[in-house]
Subunit: 141 residues, 2 copies
DNA sequence: ATGCTAACATAGCTTGTGCTATAAGAAGTG
DNA sequence: CACTTCTTATAGCACAAGCTATGTTAGCAT
């Protein structure tokens, strides 16, 4: 009935790791979208869209900058580094695949969008590939 | 291209709330499984299976007890209250459906188990129902 | 019954992510 | 050019979830 304890533990560790990455990916994806759609990503806009206070964003950006994912000049907008852009691109691709997959399964668009937001961070490459194939084969009408 | 900011923010707030619930569900589900399979749920076992230190579990159990989800007597095992059992049951059902679904999709068992662990918390009732139907129709070979 | 070991309890620290309040810099307007 | 306003920076607090180290208790074995 129950799986081996070590295996079990490993799974949960993975999940916790994924949870920490979620926020980072959300930020990168959003920053990338903001820049693509308006040319700049200001802290206030990021904050408004994430539903969070501006200092929270400032702190997070500092961390992202330290990790080499974004670059910021004082009192100027924030930009993605090459590595940040890469991650953002992958996150967005994954997001789109998950969403199309759900649509192909016949889920309502609104639900698909919302569920995709949560699911995308927990999909391994193998599962993502399976989703992609399925979505391709069963194109949503 | 970008969705309305308030809608966007609301989605993220929901996601953050869900993230806090994840841990609780993981605990309840695991406690329920441990009791079902061995008659008791000891802190050390919970800790081993979650891949976490025992004091971390102790602290969490205290919180769950305050929230009326588990009951514990000092130096004795932990048990689920009625409300806790209910939540655990739903979480487990959801988990099983997600896992069978991934298996039916042709995902490797190991991967399916791991991905299910992360995905289960983000699946709406609508999507869950679609998963259930698909898994039933395409029973894993 | 006494003592040993395994399990639980507790203290205190770290890190991450949120907040409010406030200072400081940039930008637009008269 | 000065002033107002918008944006960003910084300080300081709270809380959740992790850790290590160490004290207590229960249960088993001699």
């Amino acid at each position: 009935m129950l799986v081996d304890a070590d295996v079990h533990a490993h799974g949960f560790r993975q999940a916790r790791k994924a949870r920490r990455l979620e926020l980072v990916e959300d930020y990168l994806e959003l920053i990338s979208d903001l820049i693509a759609s308006g040319g700049e990503a200001r802290q206030v806009d990021i904050a408004a869209r994430l539903g969070v206070a501006q200092p929270t964003v400032a702190k997070m950006l500092k961390r992202l900058a330290e990790d080499g994912l974004v670059s910021q000049k004082p009192y100027r907008g924030v930009f993605l580094t090459e590595r940040g852009e890469e991650l953002a691109k992958y996150a967005r691709k994954r997001h789109q695949i998950v969403e199309s997959f759900l649509l192909a399964l016949g889920i309502e668009p609104e639900t698909a969008r919302r569920d995709a937001e949560g699911i995308e961070h927990h999909v391994s490459r193998e599962t993502l590939e399976a989703f992609r194939r399925f979505a391709k084969k069963n194109k949503a009408r």
